[in-house]
């Protein structure tokens, strides 16, 4: 019985998944690129959503344009550049490294360095004071 139910859910689920995917591509490679790009581009209207997630009108337009650019044979970089020149670096979830985004890219690394430095100093100090205590005992 349970086996039949499982099979039934599988059969019912298949067309549901197909309904979400309305963009047709010639190759699976184009399909994959479309999915990756729409995950990587950020919706300017409903911030913190990618254009793949968002239901906003502008996200739909951007998906349409992404799909048509891929079909026309543009490279991934060309698609991203197209949107960046219009909406700014904001639109990419993978912003370029420049002086304005330096803190974004280097910040975590810098904080980690400070942390490591602090630990090293603490450890060295602890071992030094331990040595001093031993010296006191003799």
């Amino acid at each position: 019985m349970i086996r039949w139910l499982l099979l039934l859910t599988l059969v019912l689920a298949a067309p549901l998944q197909a309904a979400i995917d309305i963009y047709q591509f010639d190759t699976t490679d184009q399909q994959d690129r479309f999915h990756r790009l729409t995950e990587e581009l950020r919706c300017p209207k409903c911030q913190n959503q990618s254009i793949a997630d968002s239901d906003a009108q502008i996200a739909r337009d951007m998906r349409d344009r992404t799909a048509s650019m891929i079909r026309e044979g543009h490279s991934d970089q060309e698609v991203v550049d197209f949107f960046v020149t219009r909406y700014g670096d904001f639109v990419s979830y993978r912003p370029p490294v420049n002086e304005r985004t330096a803190i974004l890219w280097m910040g975590p690394l810098g904080l980690m360095l400070i942390g490591v430095l602090a630990i090293v100093m603490l450890v060295r100090r602890a071992s030094r004071s331990a040595e001093l205590e031993e010296d006191d005992r003799t």
């Binding site: 911030q47 906003a56 502008i58 337009d61 344009r65 219009r86 700014g88 030094r128």
Partner: protein
């Protein structure tokens, strides 16, 4: 390491915390909707679109020759209704405004202008939203200030009102020596 030195190090986490708090606090006051316009200083992208009023084909040429506003609107946009009386007021003061009817139906747009008044010297029909995409528009209303060379000088997202005019548009016009910016 001396005792005195250790005493100062104790404050390091506090200093770090205060610095981080200040950094984050400076971000709190910002409006996240206010994206830096990637097009500031660049010419209006080329286009070829029909006019809502005459049906003639309009190009980016229409946006050169004088300081003017390009206002993105649509009858589907609630804030545009709120903004409309202020656009009429600006038009009455002599500010040239070109409208861009964004992703709208022509009939509805004509009814709208007939009912609420028309502040626009010309209305570009962007039914498919492609010009909007080229302009980096992601909603309505949005208002661009365009200089006589046809370059985008600034962009305002959301309702255009007296405050936005005084704070953003008027200073630029004054600096350019345009009387529409008011007395300096």
């Amino acid at each position: 390491m001396s005792k005195k030195n250790t005493g100062l190090w104790v404050f390091l986490p506090l200093v770090g915390f205060v610095a981080l708090a200040l950094l984050l606090a400076s971000g709190l006051g910002r409006n996240p909707e206010e994206l830096p316009s990637a097009l500031a200083g660049k010419p209006v992208p080329g286009f070829s679109k029909p006019s809502l009023i005459t049906g003639d084909t309009l190009t980016e040429e229409r946006l050169t020759g004088q300081w003017q506003l390009l206002n993105v609107w649509g009858t589907w946009c609630p804030t545009c209704y709120v903004e409309h009386p202020y656009l009429l007021e600006l038009a009455q003061r002599g500010v040239p405004i070109v409208g861009m009817d964004y992703k709208d139906e022509d009939d509805k747009a004509r009814d709208y202008l007939a009912r609420y008044g028309n502040p626009f010297s010309e209305v570009i029909v962007d039914a498919d939203g492609q010009l909007g995409l080229d302009l980096g528009v992601y909603g309505a209303p949005e208002t661009f200030l365009i200089n006589p060379r046809g370059e985008i000088v600034l962009r305002h997202v959301g309702e255009l009102n007296q405050r936005a005019w005084d704070e953003k548009f008027a200073p630029v016009l004054r600096q350019a020596g345009n009387p529409l910016g008011g007395p300096s």
